[in-house]
């Protein structure tokens, strides 16, 4: 959202696409219509910033192809295709509503000249209502026009895919979970899932809830559920509760936030335990109790006890969602915790000209950093779009990136009139270089001297803020690592892959057959071959094989319903 607004204010034509039906992404996730918007002031500011942006809600982007020279073609799928025809009428009604509240923009033709397609939320969005309809919804908490979103998404499909000259990928992250016996029982859900259920639907996941995993995210989940009336039997942090304290003492804002959580935990009498984890879940058809263990330094279970509960919310950090970037051939690197992330330069350009990335896709760092990223990425897009060839980098610039200047990514906008075959991918040409050669947000930011910023002071403040936020994010990874001792929590029958129902035993057997790496294990035992395509079991399988998780390069960012694919194919053939 921050990126879309910033780019639109600079005069670019921007479409914001989001698979969700309401604006906000994870952090600013909004309640159903008719309720007070959450985080009102900050969220309202982001929404107001979207004036002039084509906000396309309910548009799941499943593929992007093309290049900055020609254009990127963005394929979307309506969140609910069955609703499409039935709701054309309500879409018309919604459009009328939107006009009442000052909306225009009905029936935008994206074929013309969309300048920047922005995918994702929080720092950049994409969905399928008109900007103003969404705007009205968020600002005045009126009807959500989800139907309009769906119908509009369907219209967009009928109209053909969206085209753009530049693409910002800000698709966020999802919960990383560890397997343990019973983790697939109904009543066990991810911490983010419990949060989404509450924030986005006003539904409290259970009555007696245990929250377990690692990282500060457990705290808003626990306090949010407690405030909504659930009894939180305990928060079990596998790492130390106080590891972050030194960093907090250097960061007054974060210290205040932490103190706020401490107060709320105390008010709701929620016990917060360190060095403990849920190592098993029990029940017949539903969760009835969990086994909690004290952990040693490597997270092997020491003493255990059982706790009654109907719900477990669990999360061990986040995995960035980088499918679209990988599809486009963007180079990847590793986050501080080993997760694959999109490699970017200081301006948040990826290795593919015209493609930019922000937020959790370039390293998990929380909502504030994601927003700052969005602003930074927008400034880079604005500068690049202004056809300004970036000046040759200074020696220092490149000293920080260990690479010769001809490796310089994205000179694209300068020569965009050249036919595309003249324009090899200038960025990181050698895809097989070791990842540590690639810049990531872990490297110090050298700002480009040419950045066309409306307000240099503001830019400088943003830069300092971003550097601080990045440093804090790095600290979080250090303080809340995942230790491999969780492997000892497994029994031979514990499912590792929920979709294909692959038990730990089958992984071990694959190992006995000589499978030494995650790929071979996958071929032999099928973990990661089901519906979720390894999004959930990718991390545990990789770690069981002693590897850092790798991105599998999924053909679609969202699995497609075959009927939708069939409907889309003729359209594509026409384009080609």
């Amino acid at each position: 959202m921050a990126a879309a607004g910033t780019a639109a204010r600079a005069g670019l034509r921007v479409a914001l696409l989001d698979g969700a039906i309401r604006l906000g992404g994870q952090f600013h996730r909004q309640p159903p219509p008719g309720h007070k918007p959450r985080n009102s002031r900050k969220f309202r500011r982001l929404v107001e910033g979207l004036a002039g942006v084509d906000v396309l809600l309910g548009h799941q982007v499943w593929a992007v192809e093309g290049s900055a020279t020609a254009h990127f073609t963005i394929y979307t799928q309506a969140a609910r295709a069955d609703a499409v025809h039935a709701e054309a009428a309500s879409a018309e009604a919604a459009r009328a509503d939107a006009t009442d509240t000052g909306a225009t923009h009905a029936g935008v033709t994206y074929e013309e000249s969309a300048h920047a397609g922005v995918t994702g939320a929080e720092s950049a969005h994409a969905e399928s209502a008109h900007a103003e309809a969404a705007h009205a919804e968020a600002a005045h908490a009126e009807a959500a026009h989800a139907e309009a979103a769906n119908a509009e998404a369907a219209n967009a499909e009928a109209r053909g895919p969206l085209r753009a000259r530049a693409l910002l990928i800000a698709t966020g992250a999802y919960d990383r979970v560890l397997p343990f016996p019973g983790w697939d029982l109904p009543g066990v859900l991810t911490a983010g899932g419990a949060q989404a259920l509450l924030k986005g639907n006003g539904v409290v996941a259970g009555r007696r809830i245990v929250v377990a995993g690692t990282g500060p995210f457990l705290l808003p989940v626990a306090t949010g559920l407690a405030a909504a009336g659930a009894r939180i039997v305990g928060v079990f942090e596998a790492n130390s509760r106080t590891g972050l304290l030194p960093a907090l003492l250097r960061n007054p804002a974060k210290l205040g936030e932490a103190a706020g959580y401490a107060l709320r935990l105390a008010r709701h009498r929620v016990p917060y335990h360190g060095g403990q984890a849920v190592v098993a879940a029990h029940g017949g058809d539903e969760l009835t109790h969990v086994t909690v263990a004290r952990l040693d330094a490597d997270w092997k279970a020491l003493t255990t006890r059982d706790i009654e509960c109907d719900t477990l919310a669990t999360g061990y950090g986040f995995t960035p969602q980088i499918d679209l970037a990988v599809q486009l051939g963007c180079a990847t690197t590793h986050d501080a915790d080993g997760s694959p992330i999109v490699a970017v330069d200081a301006g948040l350009r990826t290795s593919v000209p015209g493609v930019y990335a922000a937020g959790e896709t370039i390293g998990v760092g929380g909502a504030a950093l994601a927003e700052l990223d969005g602003v930074q990425a927008a400034h880079t897009i604005i500068a690049d779009a202004a056809d300004q060839p970036a000046p040759e980098p200074t020696a220092q610039d490149w000293a920080n990136r260990d690479r010769p200047s001809q490796d310089r990514p994205n000179l694209g906008w300068a020569n965009r009139d050249r036919p595309s075959q003249d324009r090899p991918n200038l960025g990181w040409p050698s895809q097989d270089r070791p990842s540590q050669d690639r810049p990531s947000r872990d490297r110090p930011n050298q700002d480009r001297p040419n950045q066309d910023r409306p307000n240099q002071d503001q830019a400088k403040r943003d830069r300092v803020k971003r550097q601080r936020a990045e440093a804090f994010a790095r600290r979080l990874h250090e303080v809340y690592p995942v230790r491999d001792g969780w492997r000892e929590w497994l029994t031979p029958r514990t499912l590792i892959c929920r979709c294909e129902e692959v038990p730990y035993q089958a992984i071990l057997e694959a190992g006995d057959l000589g499978a030494a790496d995650a790929r071979t294990v996958k071929l032999l035992a099928r973990p990661g071959m089901g519906w979720c395509q390894g999004r959930i079991c990718g991390y545990p399988v990789a770690r069981l094989c002693g590897e850092d998780p790798r991105h599998p390069g999924r053909p679609f960012a969202h699995p497609l319903r075959m009927a939708d694919l069939a409907r889309l194919l003729p359209q594509r053939t026409k384009d080609e």
């Binding site: 698979g19 969700a20 039906i21 309401r22 994870q26 309640p31 159903p32 219509p33 008719g34 309720h35 969140a79 609910r80 295709a81 069955d82 609703a83 009807a143 959500a144 989800a146 139907e147 769906n150 999802y174 919960d175 697939d184 029982l185 109904p186 009543g187 066990v188 859900l189 991810t190 983010g192 899932g193 419990a194 949060q195 989404a196 259920l197 986005g200 639907n201 006003g202 539904v203 409290v204 996941a205 909504a228 009336g229 058809d285 539903e286 969602q321 929920r498 979709c499 129902e501 089901g530 519906w531 979720c532 999004r535 959930i536 969202h558 699995p559 319903r561």
Partner: protein
Amino acid sequence: MTFDTGAETRFEISFGGRTIPAAPGQTIAAALYAAGVRSWRTTRFEGRPRGLFCGIGVCFDCLVIVNGTENLRACLTEARPGDEVTPG
């Protein structure tokens, strides 16, 4: 527990012959959860019960059939008045 959304705007969907109340803007998974339905499908091989897990469209545990359309993720699919939901 749900927010009070006002009786007049609430509507009903059905799941396996049961009537489930829903509020505008809620997902099918949320409506089912609020009504105490926490699993709505069984797995292919071992018949294990499944419901909501990731809550944001990543894990595909929550698949349902809505008005005959298969393979919809209940956690992403908004409930509409009269939706007939069957195990996915």
